[in-house]
């Protein structure tokens, strides 16, 4: 099953400047795995060292946040679009408050 993964602007430099990639996958997790197999440099920006999606990486399956579906186990079907949308955070000091 072919799924299109939309690559956000800050990561395109690690994906041959492409804004999307077609991968074969049955779940969202497989699609992201396919993407990072094609473009290995993407992996450290999407996943923590222990293999979890980074907190500021938001993944949508056809406009639905996968946190409200079955997360990375969410099944995909032919023609689905997966979007990776950044959220942005930062701050001045080490400790909150």
């Amino acid at each position: 099953m072919s799924v299109k993964v939309m690559i956000p602007t800050p990561l395109r430099v690690y994906a041959g400047k492409r804004d999307s990639a077609d991968v074969s996958a049955a779940t969202v997790g497989e699609a992201l795995g396919g993407l990072t197999s094609q473009f290995a440099e993407l992996r450290k920006h999407l996943y923590t060292e222990d293999g979890k999606l980074r907190a500021f990486v938001n993944v949508y399956l056809n406009d639905e946040d996968i946190r409200y579906l079955k997360q990375e186990n969410t099944p995909t079907k032919d023609g689905d679009t997966i979007s990776i949308i950044p959220s942005i955070a930062g701050g001045s000091a080490e400790n909150s408050n």
């Binding site: 956000p8 946040d65 959220s87 955070a89 930062g90 701050g91 001045s92 000091a93 080490e94």
Partner: protein
């Protein structure tokens, strides 16, 4: 990224960032930098010789979503990012980075900034001490996420979009 990094911005837009930092003091302000990057973005016009490759041409001020700790944290949700991208596209631009203020702290990225940063984006930080804007710096995350590279903020006399 071996070449020196440079970010072009007009004095007017830089002043708007400072004003936003003063307005929200003692809390952090945040917003999106809209512009062009001639090295990466397909829709950017051909670069003229001597022109800065990355230019801020518009701002998209946002509300800091970290209402639990707004003095030393800022957050921009995925929905805000989508709104900023929509605003950029409407002007024929792209989101090329983000700005935020450091109330009563230097304009240096913190470890917290680094842990949450995306590569490629420019991150402008303006320091605001006792309500008065101080230094403004800009940074890009290193490819290996180990730290930041400072980029030179270059004043532009007129917007390249004009």
């Amino acid at each position: 990224m071996n070449e020196p990094l440079e970010l072009g911005i007009t004095a007017e837009l830089a002043e708007k960032i400072r004003e936003h930092g003063v307005e929200t003091y003692p809390y952090e302000c945040c917003g999106a930098l809209l512009g062009t990057d001639h090295d990466v973005l397909a829709n950017a016009p051909n670069q003229e010789s001597g022109r800065i490759s990355r230019e801020v041409l518009s701002l998209f001020p946002l509300v800091n979503r970290r209402d639990d700790s707004p003095r030393n944290r800022f957050a921009v949700t995925a929905d805000d990012v989508r709104e900023a991208e929509k605003a950029a596209r409407a002007q024929g631009l792209e989101v090329i980075g983000w700005y935020h203020s450091h109330p009563d702290h230097p304009a240096m990225p913190s470890d917290f900034d680094r842990d949450h940063a995306w590569p490629w984006y420019s991150y402008i930080i303006v320091s605001v001490h006792t309500g008065v804007p101080q230094d403004m710096t800009s940074w890009r995350l290193k490819d290996d996420r180990s730290g930041y590279l400072e980029e030179k903020i270059s004043p532009m006399k007129v917007s390249a979009a004009n």
